[in-house]
Amino acid sequence: MKKILEVRNLTKIHGRGCPQCIDSTGPEADTNICPHCGSVVAAYGVSFDLHAGEILGIMGESGSGKSTVVKTLYFDDAPSAGEAIVFDEARQWNLFALNAAEQRWLRNHRLGMVYQNPHLGLNFNVSAGGNIAERLLMSDLAHYGEIRERARRLLARTEVLPERMDESPKKFSGGMQQRVQIAKALATQPPLLYLDEVTTGLDLSVQARILDLILEIQQELNTAMIVVTHDLGVIRLLAGRTIVMKYGRIIESGLTDQILEDPQHAYTQRLVASAL
């Protein structure tokens, strides 16, 4: 299996930071706010590998730093320290050493993101089809008819009625907005896709169909994914391996069935025991 992403010691501190920040925060300190300077240690020393076609789950409660990880890997947020390398065919991208133009190129061509909040992933001032066209245009496709046809196909694949492609996503239900986001993220067939709490807040039946769709896409396109969620059910269904985070630290990682059936850390044991 080919490695597609390598993350080493990823760290993100919100605030000015002080020398005691790291020692005074984390699961042992039971906080992610430094008592000395008030900075928030959102993530510290996060390291993991992701292989092609693999789904990795990042699980944790709010404030655990799980979203911070994917945000930095998608350039939504700049890390304070650490390294991340994307291995893309013959090329290697040292993510945090790229300039703004290179970051934009990589984001538009080789990475995809689906946010919990569709307002972050979609432009509500243009149509659903327009949203996808935007991404295709940024990735150098310029023929109008071709773009429209690709957008129509992508929406059909994610089960959005093609006759609604000219409507604004404003008028769509939450589940449909997520489908448009997924179609948009997939438009350039990225080898790496981030999913940040994509089914949180949706009706159960809608959740189930979106999760099915994600699995189908993973099987069809062999897309590697990082799935960030607090939902054990989503982890169980999607992820082969899982990382558990608390107060910005990885406290445990393993095969998903092992994390759920034989959790080692006290916190994970409590988390699994409290699942419905």
Binding site: M1, A208, S253, D257, A266, Q269, R270
Partner: protein, 240 residues
């Protein structure tokens, strides 16, 4: 005969942090499984039979000992120490696990559930479904159920879907945890025939059977496990 799996001094215990308890599950287990043979695990409930299987599949992290597995290219790997990616690769290509319970997507047809292991190995849909039909018929799952998601099936029907799914890709090592627990005698006979056929193909099996009769019919070796010593309360141990 080639030894596929050799377990040496395997132990497993659970450390429950919130209750500060150490719960032993199995200890000092030694066994081996040869290609084309079935090693049966027997013993009373709570003797840790399922734990041994789960340690081999790494659903449980072994607490001690070695689980030496010889893979398809002749390399020996200690599954107790193997990386997560190594384990995923082995599960994908070589090691199968059939449990009493069927875990699958609630919205997939029985046929797709059975065909899936072949699909993930890159087999085309037609061929995979063809083989799935063959196995479902052999295990006497009524054809009217094939297009239905197994969620509503009876225990015995689910179990047969589960078996078909576990057998379809012909693993190199097959772990079986009471695969016939809720089957009628006629269907059980079919399963026995099927497992015998698979043994002849060279598949190594480590199995737990509900019924002593099945151990007698299928087992080439029998390993008896005894329940481990009692639960340790860590606080009491520290206090004394």
């Amino acid at each position: 005969m080639e030894t596929i799996l050799k377990i040496e001094g395997l132990s497993k215990h659970f450390l429950l942090h919130d209750q500060t308890k150490l719960i032993p599950s199995c200890a000092n287990v030694d066994l081996s499984v040869n290609a084309g043979q079935l090693t049966a695990l027997v013993g009373p409930t709570g003797a840790g039979k399922s734990s041994v299987l789960k340690c081999v599949y790494r659903t449980y992290l072994p607490s001690g000992g070695r689980i030496l597995y010889r893979d398809g290219s002749g390399h020996s790997i200690d599954l107790a120490q193997a990386s997560e990616h190594q384990m995923l690769q082995l599960r994908h290509a070589e090691i199968g696990f059939v449990t009493q319970f069927l875990h699958c997507l609630p919205r997939k047809s029985a046929l797709d559930v059975v065909a899936e292991p072949l699909l993930t190995r890159g087999e085309n849909r037609e061929v995979a479904q063809g083989k799935a039909r063959e196995l479902l018929a052999l295990l006497r799952v009524p054809e009217r159920l094939w297009a239905v998601p197994p969620a509503t099936f009876s225990g015995g029907e689910k179990q047969r879907v589960n078996l078909a799914r576990g057998l379809i890709a012909r693993p190199r090592l097959l772990l079986l945890d009471e695969p016939t627990a809720s089957l009628d005698p006629a269907t059980t006979d079919r399963v026995v025939e099927l497992l015998q056929a698979i043994k002849r193909e060279g598949v190594a099996m480590l199995a737990i059977f509900h019924h002593p009769d099945l151990v007698r019919r299928l087992g080439d070796r029998v390993i008896e496990l005894a329940p481990p010593v009692a639960v340790t309360d860590l606080l009491e141990t520290c206090a004394s």
